[in-house]
Amino acid sequence: MKTVSHQYEDKLLEFAYGELPPHEAEAVDAHVRSCQRCAQALSDLRGVRTTMQQLPLEAAPEAGLASLRAFAEQQATRNRAAVPLPWWRRVARARLLAALSSATALAVVGLVAWEANRAYTPSPAAVALEAQAKREVPASPAPTAPVSKDAPRPGADQLGPSPASTFSAPSLADSSPKRRKAKGAAVPSVAEPMDDLYATGKREEAKARAQDKELNSGAGARGGSGNATSNEAGSARGSLARQEVVDQQVSEKLAVQEPAQEPMQAEATPAPAPAPKSLGLSGFEPTASKKTQRWSGDTKTTADGEAQGSPTKALVEAARAAGLKRDLGAEVKFALGALASGVSGADRLEMLNRLCTAYEQLGEAAQADPYCDRVLTEFPSSTPANAIALRRRAVQTMPSKAASSEAPAAPAAREPAKPRPVERNQ
């Protein structure tokens, strides 16, 4: 194997490895037969090959197979949901999903409001109007700061129902303010709270609500409105709706002071319309607020611990569904919502892990880390924790350069993680 000089020498290597096209191989073969030097070179080369071929392959270690399989299954699930759609359709679908979820949110709010205002039987036109209004709501900061008891009371003057901050519930109520107002007097128990609040911008509500009093007493405690009526589902819903309004307002207020912290929770919303009864008076318990607080770091905890039960579940499921569809943005959103609403146990692990992996897939490692850490610290021996540990190890050993080996990371949509005004919780 010396160097060039010979015209066929260059080809010997490829010839020996069978990489020459047939006609060239024939030519080389013919040449080698008549050329001592090339014959020797080829012979040497083949001799080395034959010898080195005797080096046996070692068996690969079993270690790692199980976790690899688990990881692969997880990825396959994601893949399944993602694959068939070309990117433009994926984008379209993401939008559709977003639209759907906000539509759902609308529907829920609408339903709640409708129930609350049943007496009035709002016309479809009114509903449509409100839907539109909602759509037009500009992005407002995602608020949610825990409403502490002494949270400043939003001043009516400052907080007035500015369109920008209006939420679905309020806007619904708004669709025919006058009529409602008028009727409100007649049907105080349910409808009034909302209308009243909306129309006058009373913040007492907020305060009262923050103190939990109202919740516990149903529609009752409202200063002056005097709807002492009932324990019925209707009133529970009414109070729920009202509460949402209040939350909204409170959060708006808070948002002014501290800019959006938690994107999540806002969007999570839709599904939740908690069953009126369960929710009603008993739904808002200590447990709920305790849970919410557990999520400490984020100030988020909406004041409404009330919706705790079913909404949390709904968020968990929404996150799951989004995960299946590989809609990372929605997955993140719902998972954050679930966490913010105090999800616990296995669901909590799942939500944390979803955030960890979804953010990773979005290429936002910095976002992913805190959630991955929580999985590791809170559920140290879980399968997800193991997988995370493994991935981390992998990442550590292979820094920047390996990039070329990887399929181009899809820096996909980052936005989804951000709260979208319209989808905010109601």
Partner: protein, 209 residues
């Protein structure tokens, strides 16, 4: 997906959500990839870790996988890059501690010295392999890494020169040139180690693929 499915088809199947397809790929290539890595880094523990990382990357990269190149080209590119990084780190580490154990040397002695002792290798095909193997390993590990990787890929993993160029990021002529040096280097090494004569001659009849 039958056993005859190509690697690329399997990878596409996995990309579309079939977890078993990846299992099939792992079954087909994991051992080979492990051996490539092992012979690259020369240390079992590191090789195991890198092997796992390689497959995790395959899994993770599946969503964006495009069958533009052969699956094996892709896998070896991942594995090789991980090896390069690992070797680099290792060399930094060693630069830091001069008293590092000899066995930690990413190239050279480690594998060749450890292999025979550990004797964990596959139950042999031939008794004489037991003596031969350490020598072959030593000859292999003595090659400069850029020659060794080319030789490994071409000789043991069926990766063509053009694909090796993709894997290693150099042009095809450079790959072939390194391959020639590798073969020549091995021949010299083997002669020095006394592996010559019959073996090399015997090779003539069997060698061509």
């Amino acid at each position: 997906m039958g056993p005859e499915a190509s690697d690329e088809q399997l990878m596409l199947a996995f990309k579309s959500g079939d977890a078993r397809a990846l299992g099939a790929l792992v079954g087909r290539h994991r051992q080979a990839v492990y051996n490539f890595i092992l012979r690259y880094v020369g240390q079992r523990q590191r090789a195991e870790d890198l092997l796992q990382e390689t497959w995790l990357k395959v899994v993770r990269g599946s969503a964006e996988y495009q069958p533009k190149a052969r699956f094996t080209t892709w896998v070896y590119t991942i594995a090789r890059n991980l090896c390069v990084d690992s070797a680099r780190k290792e060399s930094y580490r060693q630069a830091d501690s001069l008293d590092a154990p000899v066995g930690a040397d990413p190239e050279g002695p480690a594998l060749s010295e450890k292999l025979p002792d550990e004797s964990l290798a596959a139950p042999d095909r031939a008794a004489d392999n037991a003596q031969l193997r350490p020598m072959l390993t030593r000859a292999l590990m003595a090659l400069p890494i850029e020659q060794r990787e080319v030789f490994l890929l071409r000789e043991y993993h069926g990766v063509g020169f053009k694909e090796i160029a993709q894997v290693t990021g150099v042009n095809e002529n450079t790959v072939k040139s390194r391959m020639r040096y590798a073969l020549e280097g091995l021949r010299r090494q083997l002669l020095e180690l006394g592996v010559d004569g019959e073996l090399l001659t015997e090779g003539r009849t069997v060698a061509s693929r």
